[in-house]
């Protein structure tokens, strides 16, 4: 039964993903029809290329391959990573407000980025990779501190874990705000980084993020039954034969690394990791065997549309992506909650 559901929802999801991909590549300062984009992309696939005769302008191909495709794909990967990580966090913390940033990873990454930008060191050590690498490292260190703070007798109680995360977030957030306020000429750069953006990233960022997403999502998917069992409570899960503490720790670690990787290339984009898993849950029910893969697809779709809005609504000015995700996501989530409420009320009658 689960396989049938997965195949059904998965097919719909992948179709929506493909349509979104084509539309988001097509829409911009120069409009490109979806058919042409499909032809350009298929032409690049080895073996298929010979079957398609190029009848497009060179400029179109360059816009697709060098400008729009890397950005749209990066958006898809960031959205997928955050949504899958969010599903993992919600599964382990069993708290509806849990999201990829609950344990303070975003603030940890932001600190690294803010310090670099503040002192003008963004490109100092590793060229364009300096900022993502440093942001990833400071994000991971933050996770380590939070876990260390929360751990007692070899166990990680959920309540102290969430509290430690909140404490770290508040403290590091204050430091980032301080740096933002103190830096006179670069004020916008730190601020914009903390609000997220996908502009001018190029192919290399996509390439860094991809392995994290692939391995992380596969691992979390393989833990889906564990998360299902965990929703009955930690004691129940232990009695049913699960090594609870080890599972919690590994899922949190993997979800956090995925988050840190996404944040380090795109900045802090809120709301996706919170809302997308909830949306999927409202549609499919509580089974993580569905929630995790469908969150990846849903997060990708959601982020591509958000980024399209961010770059085209006020073009040529870009709206910070984090603002758009909240602006679009919150009302949509509210609408889904409203539908669910109506459905429950109808069942009661």
């Amino acid at each position: 039964m689960i396989r049938g559901k997965l195949a059904g929802y998965g097919t719909i999801g992948l179709l929506l993903l493909a349509v979104t991909l084509l539309l988001c590549i097509g829409i911009g300062s120069v409009y490109l029809p979806a058919g042409e984009i499909a032809a350009i992309l298929l032409h690049r696939i080895p073996g298929l290329g010979r079957l398609i005769t190029p009848d497009w302008e060179v400029a179109s191909e360059q816009i697709v391959v060098l400008v729009r495709l890397p950005r749209v794909l990066l958006g898809m990967l960031v959205g997928a990573s955050l949504a899958v990580a969010g599903a993992g966090f919600q599964g382990v913390l069993r708290n509806p407000l849990a999201d990829p940033y609950t344990l303070g990873v975003s603030s940890g990454s932001a600190i690294g980025a803010a310090v670099l930008i503040f002192f003008g060191w963004q490109f100092s050590l590793l060229g364009v990779f300096t900022l993502p690498v440093v942001a990833f490292i400071t994000g991971s260190i933050t996770l380590w501190i939070v876990l260390w703070l929360a751990r007692e007798n070899g166990k990680i109680p959920i309540e102290s874990l969430i509290l430690s995360g909140v404490v770290m977030q508040a403290f590091l957030g204050a430091v980032v705000s301080f740096l933002t306020a103190m830096s006179k000429k670069t004020v916008n750069e730190i601020l914009y980084w903390t609000m997220g953006s996908l502009s001018l990233r190029g192919w290399s960022y996509t390439a860094i993020l991809f392995p994290y997403l692939l391995l992380g999502a596969l691992y979390l998917w393989s833990r889906a039954k564990h998360l299902n069992l965990l929703s009955l409570g930690e004691r129940q899960a232990a009695h049913s034969g699960m090594a609870v503490e080890r599972t919690k720790l590994l899922v949190l670690l993997v979800a956090t690394l995925m988050t840190a990787a996404a944040v380090s290339v795109s900045g802090v984009i809120g709301f996706v990791g919170l809302v997308v898993p909830h949306m999927i849950r409202l549609i499919t029910g509580p089974d993580y065997r569905l929630i995790i893969p469908l969150s990846a697809i849903g997060g990708g779709i959601f982020m591509m549309w958000s980024d399209l809005a961010a770059r085209s609504l006020l073009a040529p000015t870009e709206i910070p992506l984090g603002i758009v995700t909240a602006f679009v996501g919150a009302p949509f989530f509210g609408y889904l909650l409203y539908l669910k409420k109506k459905q429950r009320e109808a069942e009661m009658r």
Binding site: S222, A224, K225, N228, L229, S231, L232, G233, R235, Q236, A238, H239, S240, G241, M242, A243, V244, G285, P286, D287, R289
Partner: protein
């Protein structure tokens, strides 16, 4: 089956269990009785391995309890917790299937015949009369129905020993009897060992063939209900006065409470 050798458990300065020793033979149906705070639930948690004793040792099938992995232990022992199952969105069948967790590989599949697996679940659903409810989410079930689903999950685990912690506390009379009958039937047919914390002494006398009476972290009495249940015992352990009568059908002792405080 289980041999407990002089175990102690304390939380900080508070001693919950004091050098308790106890033996459970395979196929016995034990009722654990005693006032609140006498250490019954702690004893259950130590046997199920979710808490560790401060001293002493527990042996399961001749092996130290610590030697079992979580997974290996859950092949032997299943637990029905006092608070039962939470009102989650999973269907009854899905929750019962979760009892098979310890038998599944990393892909979530059981090695061998998948048809046999489905038949096992079907059998349990039939036995517990859950077939009609199997696709309903737990969140819409009554307390009694949810408790039956919890029993189904425990049965799917195919243990040798079942620990029940006050399994009938939140059930009405009909469901209490129904639940105990289901457990007794399962115990008889599978040769299972059962240890159940019971608050209702009469129900305990009806279903258990051994009683363990605890007070203040130690064992006060143990044996067959007809040998140990008496007004003197309940006065000593619970501080209440009672009459003893004999159950007209079953010939076992039953206690009728008297009014007033026992402690003079």
């Amino acid at each position: 089956m289980i041999e407990i050798k002089s175990i102690s458990k304390s939380f900080g300065r508070y001693n919950i269990l004091d050098k308790l020793s106890w033996k459970v033979q395979s196929g016995e149906f034990w009722g654990l009785i005693g006032p609140n705070g006498s250490g019954k639930t702690t004893l259950m948690n130590l046997i199920s391995g979710v808490e560790k004793p401060n001293g002493g040792e527990i042996q399961l099938g001749g092996k130290r309890l610590e030697a079992y992995s979580r997974k290996a232990l859950s092949h032997k022992i299943a637990v029905l917790q006092q608070d039962g199952l939470p009102p989650v969105g999973y269907s009854v069948r899905e929750v019962v299937e979760m009892g098979r967790f310890a038998y599944q590989d990393w892909r979530g599949r059981e090695p061998g015949d998948s048809l046999a697996g489905a038949q096992l679940i079907d059998g349990i659903m039939e036995r517990l009369d859950l077939m009609e409810l199997q696709h309903r989410p737990l969140s819409v079930l009554s307390g009694g129905q949810r408790q039956r689903a919890a029993l189904g999950k425990v049965m799917a685990q195919q243990p040798e020993l079942v620990l029940l912690d006050e399994p009938t506390t939140y059930l009405d009379l009909r469901y209490q009897l129904q639940f105990m009958e289901l457990v007794a039937d399962w115990q008889r047919t599978e040769g299972l060992t059962v240890i159940s914390v019971m608050h209702d002494l009469n129900l305990a006398a009806m279903y258990c063939n051994r009683l363990l009476v605890m007070s203040g972290g130690s064992i006060v009495a143990q044996g067959a209900p007809q040998d140990i249940l008496s007004p003197e015992l309940v006065a000593k352990v619970f501080g209440v006065h009672a009459h003893q009568v004999v159950h007209p059908d079953l010939g076992i002792p039953q206690l009728l409470l008297r009014r007033g405080d026992a402690t003079p």
